[in-house]
């Protein structure tokens, strides 16, 4: 009886132990903070799933680790001056993971599916300007737009426009999100609970690449657990590293810290259509009431830069505007002027992650000092998204104060302003959660979009930024840094400024 028990125990232990990776092969394990929501590039909203999709799918063009446009599945393109016609010349000799060939028909099928409003895919708004797509021949695609769109190539370099194998869509329909098939350097193996496994694509079109044999995404929400994974060698890249923990990793002999400014801007969106925020003096007062330097120090452990424009510095056409320094006396005076000498009560809504909750508590403390009583309302992702976007008319909006942020995942100024600050971007269309509307800003944004001439665009976005900065629709907080950590023997891995994990094709583990 005793021997049997011992044997059972032994076998169970061995079974568990054998699931640990064998380190002879080049296996990269990435420690990520969340579970993936899907692997259909046209239907993803979150950075994490998008970064995984980018390892398995490719687009006609892509953004490299510096958010610069590079050709990928297309070799070149031509556009007319009005930015209404784009012709792409595709790369030859590329196949999907399921063996079907990559060609113009596949591109057309991909674009049509993603842009079809009946499919209700989350990234449909990226294709809304397309009138029709034609496969001129096997390797030439012509896209005709309904109206001028200067940022179109950046637009299709977005993850939402990655090319999906038409055969996989035929075979799996809606379930294609769990059976991804693209042209990327890594092919899908499995996706269970918190683990995504990918393996080397043996038929990848770039010779000699990729170098890694497998990539595994392990979802570990616990910050401490993720860091320990890196320290024990279980993972070779982890993100995000909470700012307060960077210090404990700095002195490690085996770990490198990644600390770079991102294009993620952190702000508090104020509902400009609702009292008391319809009064610009109140909005201004709140900007003077929050000590941005203390915010960076306390909430982000110093790993951020103050926000001095609605757009972050790394985004093209950024122009520094100025600052609203910490001045609680002025804040109180402004509030009194606006008719709130004793402050008011308000609810601040946001997500549930540790950093967000910390940030919200900080805002609560700062505003308390000028008489504004803030009630913090943390909501889980699904509930928050519903509250933000399930709105039929602006009057229905239930959020008055939102702790949020944004990063332009196309790397272009347009996507860094239009979704949040354009009148036609009121939810549920896009993310203008401050319900901000100013005709001058609208005109400037439209100007920037209607041309591909950099000088004209710079002028337009300069105007837009200045107007928004003056109108104070938000409490401008900070531009966060990207914080990650990885093993010293890993090369080619980094974080893009839009906070997505990025792996070069040549990434390697020595």
């Amino acid at each position: 009886m005793r021997h049997l028990l011992t044997r059972i125990l032994l076998v169970t232990f061995l079974a568990c132990g054998s699931s640990a990776a064998s380190f002879a092969a080049k296996d990269l394990v990435v420690g990520v903070p969340d579970n993936l929501t899907g692997l259909d590039p046209a239907d993803l909203n979150d950075n994490l799933s998008q970064s995984a999709a980018r390892l398995m799918f490719e687009g006609l063009y892509m953004l490299d680790e510096h958010m610069k446009l590079q050709p990928q599945l297309a070799e070149s393109y031509e556009a007319n001056e009005e930015a209404t016609l784009f012709i792409f010349h595709l790369r030859k000799g590329v196949t999907f993971h399921d063996g079907t060939p990559f060609n113009a028909a596949a591109v057309k099928a991909s674009f049509d599916r993603a842009g079809n409003p009946e499919n209700h895919l989350k990234r449909q708004s990226l294709f809304v300007m397309i009138d029709h797509t034609d496969a001129v021949d096997d390797y030439t695609v012509k896209v005709t737009l309904k109206y001028p769109f200067g940022a179109f190539v950046n637009d299709i370099a977005h993850i939402g426009a990655l090319i999906v194998s038409p055969k996989s869509v035929q075979e799996f329909g809606k379930e294609v999100t769990r059976h991804p098939s693209g042209t990327g350097p890594y092919a899908f193996v499995s996706w269970t609970a918190d683990t995504l496994k990918m393996k080397k694509n043996e038929h990848y079109w770039k010779p000699g690449l990729p170098k890694l044999d497998t990539i595994t995404y392990r979802s570990v929400p616990e910050n401490g657990a993720r860091i320990a994974m890196l320290q024990t060698g279980e993972a070779q890249f982890i993100y995000p590293v909470p700012p307060e923990m960077i210090k404990s990793l700095e002195n490690s002999a085996t770990i490198t810290i990644f600390d770079e400014p991102s294009i993620y801007v952190r702000y508090v969106a104020l509902n400009n259509l609702r009292k008391p925020f319809d009064d610009p003096r109140v909005r201004l007062a709140l900007n003077y009431a929050v000590d941005k330097q203390a915010f960076i120090k306390v909430v982000l452990s110093g790993r951020a830069d103050p926000m001095d424009s609605p757009m972050p510095p790394l985004l093209g056409f950024y122009q520094k505007q100025g600052s609203y320094p910490y001045d609680p006396v002025k804040a109180k005076a402004l509030l009194a002027e606006a008719g709130y000498p004793n402050g008011f009560e308000i609810t601040l809504t946001g997500g549930v992650s540790t950093l967000v909750q910390r940030g919200m508590q900080f805002i609560q403390q700062q505003l308390a000092a000028v008489g504004v009583t803030v009630k913090v309302e943390p909501l889980e992702a699904g509930v928050l998204t519903a509250k933000e976007f399930n709105v039929k008319t602006p009057e229905d909006a239930s959020i008055v104060m939102l702790y949020g942020g944004w990063s332009s995942s196309t790397g272009d100024a347009d996507w860094g302003m239009r979704p949040m600050l354009y009148t036609k971007a009121f939810p549920p269309v896009l993310a203008n959660l401050a319900w901000y509307s100013n005709p001058t800003t609208d005109a400037a944004i439209e100007e920037g979009l209607n041309t591909t001439d950099p000088t004209k665009r710079a002028a337009a976005y300069g105007k837009a930024q200045a107007q928004v900065w003056h109108d104070v629709p938000w409490i401008f907080l900070a531009v966060e840094h990207n914080l990650a950590a990885y093993s010293k023997n890993l090369t080619g891995a980094s974080m893009r400024p839009d906070q997505q994990f990025h792996l070069n094709e040549g990434a390697d583990l020595k």
């Binding site: 910050n223 404990s248 120090k297 609560q364 913090v376």
Partner: protein, 289 residues
């Protein structure tokens, strides 16, 4: 007979007997004193605490224990010692109120079930069985999933899973007491049912109920802290001990004081309640037999 009369003055009343036995258990007495102290500190928190529960100090964040801050400070420079005092009010309130609610309901149901027997008994105990089909914290989580998070709902949740245990306990005592001579006697002279239950049976069940209450308050405080820790109880910036522990999780190895002191507070409080309960049980034991 004459012996009993001669030795009568040496017999103490049951309560005096109980106190004598209780006083002899030093550990229990010490726990009782500690608990009294904790309760007093919690009540006096507004005057005792050197800082408010939410007073930030951005120049002194994540500081270790010092003369200024006995237990150090947290992310926002809030004094941890003060927050523990303020949090004590929450923990003790939740503990006492939930046990009071659950106990009241449970004792009533148990008395009714044991006394009336038959269909009433079957019905009540079946329902209690169903409640007992859920492991404690699961039932609490279920109630929270229904009502939403927050400390008020935590109280209801914990009260709910205390009810069946009290009911079972009291039912057992009631059944035993029903058969005693004095109850039979009272019945035979026509004492009404409610009076019987209240004056003759209930006092008999009280000793074990009181012991159980003490142990239960400890469990309740623990469960409330656990619920807050996993995010279903008191949300930040509440100084609830479980919530503070959750915040301290991010700083393991960097600022351990945030995790250490609130946890210690929970431990000491629950330990004191458990030791007290143990002592009460031992002191009452002879009487129960």
């Amino acid at each position: 007979m004459s012996d009993a009369v001669l030795s009568a003055p040496l017999l103490r009343s049951p309560s005096a007997e109980f106190w004598r036995r209780f006083r002899r258990k030093r550990v229990a007495v010490v726990s009782a004193c500690v608990l009294l102290l904790l309760i007093l500190m919690a009540i006096a928190a507004p005057w005792l605490a050197p800082y408010g529960p939410a007073t930030p100090d951005y120049d002194n964040v994540l500081a270790g224990p010092s003369l200024l801050h006995w237990c150090g400070t947290d992310t926002f420079g809030r004094d941890i010692f003060s927050r523990i005092l303020w949090g004590g009010r929450i923990s003790l309130t939740v503990g006492f109120v939930s046990v009071a609610l659950g106990g009241l309901a449970g004792v009533t149901l148990g008395l009714a079930a044991g006394f009336f027997g038959g269909l009433v008994d079957s019905l009540i105990m079946r329902v209690m069985d169903v409640l007992l089909a859920f492991p404690g914290i699961l039932l609490a989580i279920g109630v929270i999933a229904l009502l939403g998070p927050g400390i008020a709902n935590v109280i209801y949740a914990i009260a709910t899973f205390s009810v069946p245990v009290f009911a079972r306990l009291v039912r057992g005592s009631t059944l035993a007491l029903k058969r005693t001579l004095y109850v039979q006697a009272a019945r035979s002279i026509g004492v009404s049912a409610p009076l019987l239950m209240l004056r003759h049976i209930l006092p008999g069940t009280l000793p074990s109920v009181i012991v159980y209450c003490s142990l239960r308050v400890g469990t309740s405080i623990l469960t409330a802290a656990a619920l807050s820790f996993i995010g279903l109880g008191a949300p930040p910036p509440s100084p609830e001990w479980g919530t503070m522990l959750a915040e301290g999780r991010s700083y393991l190895g960097v600022a351990d004081q945030i995790m250490l002191f609130p946890g210690l507070a929970i431990f000491v409080t629950v330990l004191a309640f458990n030791l007290l309960g143990d002592g009460l049980r031992d002191a009452l034991d002879q009487r129960l037999r």
